[in-house]
Amino acid sequence: MSLIRYQTPDTSVWRSLDRWANLRDEINSFFESPSWTSPVSQAQLFNGWAPAVDIYQTNDDVVAVVELPGMRKEDIELSLHDGILTIGGERKEEGAEGDKTARTERFVGRFRRSISLPTRVDSNNVKAAYKDGILTVTLPKAEEVKPKQIQVNVS
């Protein structure tokens, strides 16, 4: 029997994986996007929108905090598959016909962002809350990855 020393997970590897996920998303959305014609969306095609994501870890949970200003709750799509949390949705063009847009910096259209979670999570008990334009997703860690105390028995 061998004992393996506990090591903090290497988040730098995980970050680079995340970068690949972004690239994949961008390529996918490039082919999915039907709006080649409008110059505005064409410009955004290459910039895209990757909402800022912060990830926290507690003993029991992984928490993702995502900046999604000005969305409707119904337009936010959240899914979890194979340890990858995907946040997507659509922000629709607002305003009446005939409005001239003098300056457009806000992203309009579909977006998607995938995040590889640092540990396995219990997908049945994920909670999400949306307040002040910030989405907070709480993902409880799977039982087997939670830190546990081990009782030492003296024989």
Partner: protein, 127 residues
């Protein structure tokens, strides 16, 4: 003049407070119709209490202080900026500064700036 709002990038100290505080410029969209202009500014983490706007010398300044959710535990990946938001726009002379109204919903500030003849300095309250 075509545009409502020309951005004013000169960042001067506001109301003599926190001259050294750093801000980030929020993302904004401006649209125009016959009645006036609509200005939308993205300020995630800002609510009504943290929002402050004023018009001074024909310049509109929007300042948003974030009240971010506090998460216990350690951060393992960060992309968000911690600074508060501030951005200043120069108002088109056609705008009636006294009639500007604002709402904030899910971190998105929407300002309606109706067109009029005269331009007066005035503090804006959040409805």
């Amino acid at each position: 003049m075509e545009t409502l709002v020309r951005e004013n990038r000169r960042q001067k100290g506001t109301n003599g407070q926190g001259a050294t505080e750093r801000f980030v410029a929020p993302v904004a969209t401006v649209s125009e119709n016959t009645d006036g202009y609509t200005l939308q500014v993205e300020m995630p983490g800002v609510n009504k209490e943290g929002l402050e706007m004023w018009v001074e010398n024909n310049e509109l300044t929007i300042l948003g202080r974030r009240s971010l959710p506090t998460v216990a535990g350690t951060i393992v990946h960060r992309e968000s900026r911690q600074e508060n938001f501030r951005r200043t726009f120069e108002l088109d002379p056609s705008i009636d500064a006294g009639k500007i109204s604002a709402t904030i919903e899910q971190g998105l500030v929407t300002l309606v700036l109706p067109k009029a003849e005269q331009v007066k300095p005035r503090k804006i309250t959040v409805s």
